[in-house]
Assembly symmetry: D2
Homo-oligomer: 255 residues x 4
């Protein structure tokens, strides 16, 4: 069976989905189910903790069945991110977390200096950080050395739907990594997810591509199939590329 | 249920696979099964008719369960192609056929003058020709007017594995067509097949991408998933593309 | 000196510019001068012949210094195009002409059946037709056989500015052609024109990319430089592509 | 006149060329002249200082006419790079320098942690560092804050000739920068250089694309024209992109 593991946990699905931008929790849960994802990521800062009467995500997505991956969306410094994750750990016991430390609101690009610093501190505190980062092979190695349990390079800016802009860098990261690599951000449609997997990534994380599709639940199914397709194609070993044609039907044995 | 129809027949699978370049018929049959394809295309000129003791494709792929689509691979004139298909009809009763009339051995590009002429003649003789063609929206309309029951533009040269080179033309053909459009030729890996479907095509035909993968049967499974992924993504309606980032996790409700 | 010839005439500039969409004839003439073009193409159907008092293009662009290339923009049948060019020849003696026969108003794609037919007739009547066509290597050979003195494949739809969509087909046409090949349509900015030349084309024709730039005269200068750059790069023979890095500064002789 | 300035010096040429991989100094000098470059970059570690009888670059390229830009090619730590540049300053008085701190020999990607640290130290010592870096908009801002006088993101791995892989990131860097941005590394042919300039960069640095062309001197001329073309196109303001066609020759005034 084709599985992958992160921080000692093993998963069959290679798709991680988000919890932002959905119409409501019911739609989110339906999309999650259609996606086959076993991990869902949640922005700690967005979690409703004040209004006990409002609906809660956990009423719709069972934390006993689905792994919750707290993330630090909206944090612009290492301290913010670390404080956020400490709160999450105190509240729910999570130590497998997704770290993102943003550099600016415009592009939502990560700040790699703060990200690296936060990774070190979190790892020292016993967290298992999966880390959102730029598609920089050297930074990826530094994150791994600092204790990142997974490398999560962006394929394109968060929420852009532009698809993977630089296949060379993603490939270099995969070749150099000793921990799982998952493309995080930039996927817009199914083929983008397949491309990520065909580059040898261990998985893909996405939110907007599903939540902002006209039919999010159907798109979740598309992404499930796309990740599987890309993974199988990677494992199967694609044909070489030829510039000129080569007949599929060699002409020996003509009638 | 999401099906498509050509010449009065309805299919669930949107993937058509070939019968060239496999190690043997057993591998071909296994790949076909993994692909989920309901149609298999066969080069009439390659069919063994002289040696009754040699193995036959029909011993491995049951024509009662799988639709055989005879093709004219290796024909360089309308006359050659027409003669080939008449033989096929006499031998097996097929009238749903795949026409290809090649213009040169180097690129295996179709000769559209001969292709159009052959389409007219075949349609007048009661054939239902699915037609391999260049990615030319006007030629596609002419083929349809001449009696083509499906338009099959190349995505890249046959056997090249280069992927779809021109998304604009494939999209223009799809928008203008009144019959099914299937990308035929050029697919190299799973994401290429997904792209074809995301452009709104009704299906994809491929041979080399599966037969020349290191593991053809696994790649057939990849292609099955990729075509389904692309189709679902098309139906689901993808998100718009944004140049700049947009947070998946809006920062309302901060802790 | 690096020149090219068509129908017995020799030119230094490899850029052909149009005469549509400019603010006025003065701007058109200024852009032409900045472009360095020696050939300007004019839609016969747009030429003002009724109002003798209105300004005329020939007052701004001297036909004794610049080669006028009449074209058949707006013609949708071979007959229309042929009639238009006969009128042009009677009026001005031109036999070097640009043939385009459009297939539909939406995409302005050529109708290759009509285009091929018109090419034959025009060549038989002594015209020297440079022919707008799809990027189809086989059709290109047929046009050449029918008497086309230059092959002018589109890089993308007319007026789209999308750049060259399919480098494989342009390259195949160049490799197979015995007459000059010029990309006609699709160029949006300078690098697009350079790409056309780097593929080995003999020249580029454009109109909208210059006329609809914010500063058409400056863009004309950009295109002049881009065509020269691409031509020189083609002649110089580019470096090979390497997937991984190779130091420009080998480390022998360290301090 | 269209000029650019870095560290108080003003230049007309926007092309910087290297001094590696040429057959000999004479070819290097001829290529430099054909390129029109006013700046040449030299790997300090490669400079011959031991053999007084061997030919010297300065005999071929006059430091009084051409600005020498010492670089730290081959340095893998901040300390190495700083020491190298201190030697260069002591030897020749240069303070305008190009800093590169590599992360690994395989991809020659920069190590941004070391690069940022070296930039700070060098700026504090009065150097004016132009800094080779990954295409990361946040890192670019940090470099600028640390004292970089120019940001030099890679377009693709050094010596790869792959062209600019990620236009989004280069564009984001240009939009955010308060100092000149020059693409450094990745250019393979003329159109790649034009693309860099069309994204709004202030210049381009290249070595292999010229030195490894079949005819380096002719390619240097191609690059000169390409940089000018891209710059003019950027200033002129390109046409918008349209998906569907738009006739250059509106059909008013038909014959």
């Amino acid at each position: 069976e084709d599985t992958w593991s992160v921080a000692g946990k093993t998963f069959r699905s290679r798709l991680i989905v988000g919890t932002g931008k959905y119409k409501d929790f019911a739609q989110n849960a339906a999309a999650l189910e259609a996606s086959g994802a076993e991990i869902v990521t949640v922005a700690v800062r967005r979690v409703n903790v004040s209004d006990r009467n409002a609906p809660m995500l956990t009423d719709f997505i069972d934390p006993k069945k689905i792994t919750y991956l707290p993330n630090t969306a909206g944090c612009f410094t290492a301290e913010d991110a670390i404080r956020t994750l400490r709160l999450a750990r105190e509240a729910g016991g999570w130590d497998l977390v997704k770290l993102e430390v943003l550099g600016e609101a415009r592009s939502l690009y990560p700040d790699m200096v703060e990200t690296l610093r936060a990774t070190e501190i979190l790892a020292n505190e016993g967290f298992k950080p999966m880390v959102y980062c730029v598609d920089d092979p050297i930074a990826a190695k530094r994150l791994e050395d600092a204790g990142a349990v997974a490398i999560m390079p962006l394929g394109a800016p968060i929420g852009s739907g532009l698809g993977i802009q630089n296949r060379i860098t993603i490939r270099l990261i995969v070749e150099g990594a000793g921990v799982p690599v998952l493309v995080d951000a930039g996927v817009g449609t199914a083929s983008d997810a397949a491309v990520a997997m065909e580059l040898g990534c261990d998985g893909v994380l996405m939110n907007t591509a599903i939540a902002e599709a006209k039919d999010p639940v159907m798109m979740a199914g598309a992404m499930k199939a796309a990740v599987e397709a890309g993974r199988l194609a990677w494992r199967a070993g694609r044909m070489g590329v030829r510039r000129y044609a080569d007949p599929s039907s060699p002409l020996a044995g003509l009638i």
